[in-house]
Symmetry: C2
């Protein structure tokens, strides 16, 4: 499975960035749909990449914050990234608390169930809007492909949740009635 170092190289292969900016990419950017990393893993990763010569630190322009450190990928770094990209990909790994909860949905308090379903629907709606807005912006083929794939799956999940939400909440209400 691709580690945080490689994730950082991926971000830096597109543009120079600081640790802070890399983290924003994982939070909001196009990579956020299938990867994640916090400060606690990014900063040590950058330190290691710097030691290994996979990235260099740019001398900061006098106008920017003195503590800001902007990194750039090196040819060696690009090579390492390329090696990682041409390996056999590991299986996707989805960890979903929500789906685990829904799996036991019929035994949950209907109010809780309805809330977590509603929250997820809201979240998916926002994600779909964001991706649809970015669809006509320029971008390379890979980025557009991945955005399209994310959009397609989010839309499918959204439609399913909207269409079947009441069925599951109904089942939970039934269970509650029986228990009374």
């Amino acid at each position: 499975m691709i580690d945080v170092k490689t994730l950082c190289l991926g971000v830096l292969s597109r543009d120079d960035a600081s640790g802070y900016e890399i983290r924003k990419e994982f939070e909001d950017g196009p990579l956020s749909h299938f990867s994640d990393a916090g400060f606690g893993s990014i900063y040590p990763a950058l330190k290691k990449l710097l030691e290994d010569g996979h990235i260099i630190m740019l001398p900061q322009g006098g106008d920017s914050r003195p503590d800001k450190k902007v990194y750039r990928i090196t040819p060696a770094g690009r090579h390492v990234l390329y090696q990682a990209l041409t390996r056999q990909p590991a299986q996707d790994k989805l960890r979903s608390d929500l789906m685990f909860m829904l799996f036991f949905g019929h035994m949950l308090p209907p109010r809780h169930l309805d809330r977590i379903l509603g929250d997820r629907i809201d979240h998916l709606q926002r994600a779909v809007e964001t991706l649809e807005r970015s669809a006509d912006r320029p971008g390379n083929a890979g980025e557009k492909f991945v955005d399209g794939l994310s959009l397609a799956t989010y839309k499918a999940a959204l439609t399913y949740l909207e269409e079947h939400r009441h069925e599951l909440v109904g089942a939970a209400l039934m269970e509650n009635k029986v228990a009374e």
Copy 2:
């Protein structure tokens, strides 16, 4: 994020099982679509659950293997599981090597790109077939809901990959030509 102990309680809330059988659930069963755990995390988790009184070990029937240990959830265990199920769910976490690779798809060797896309299409087709076969089998409301959600997203991903596969591979071929 729900841990392996809770995952095990979830499996055991449905039926008594051994560590080996719990692992099969994560590999093939309906929970496999959104959770995962190997022996190295299941056995220590069961040990801890036993110590805490959340599960008990059943005296094994004389006909079964002498080394097989079958566990059953206790009322205390059910309570712990219920607590976990009624908390606010953490954000879903998807880690996907494939999507990371596809994101840089245009700079990949077309053969590699075509292979990883084909492998994923095959994998999704098998997953869809399995879920469709299990659709008419009995199951409680939560299980059916989650199966339906998984099926809807897999189908959407499959359709997208089949329809757009050639676009990305085409872009990669172009890049290669330019490089020549």
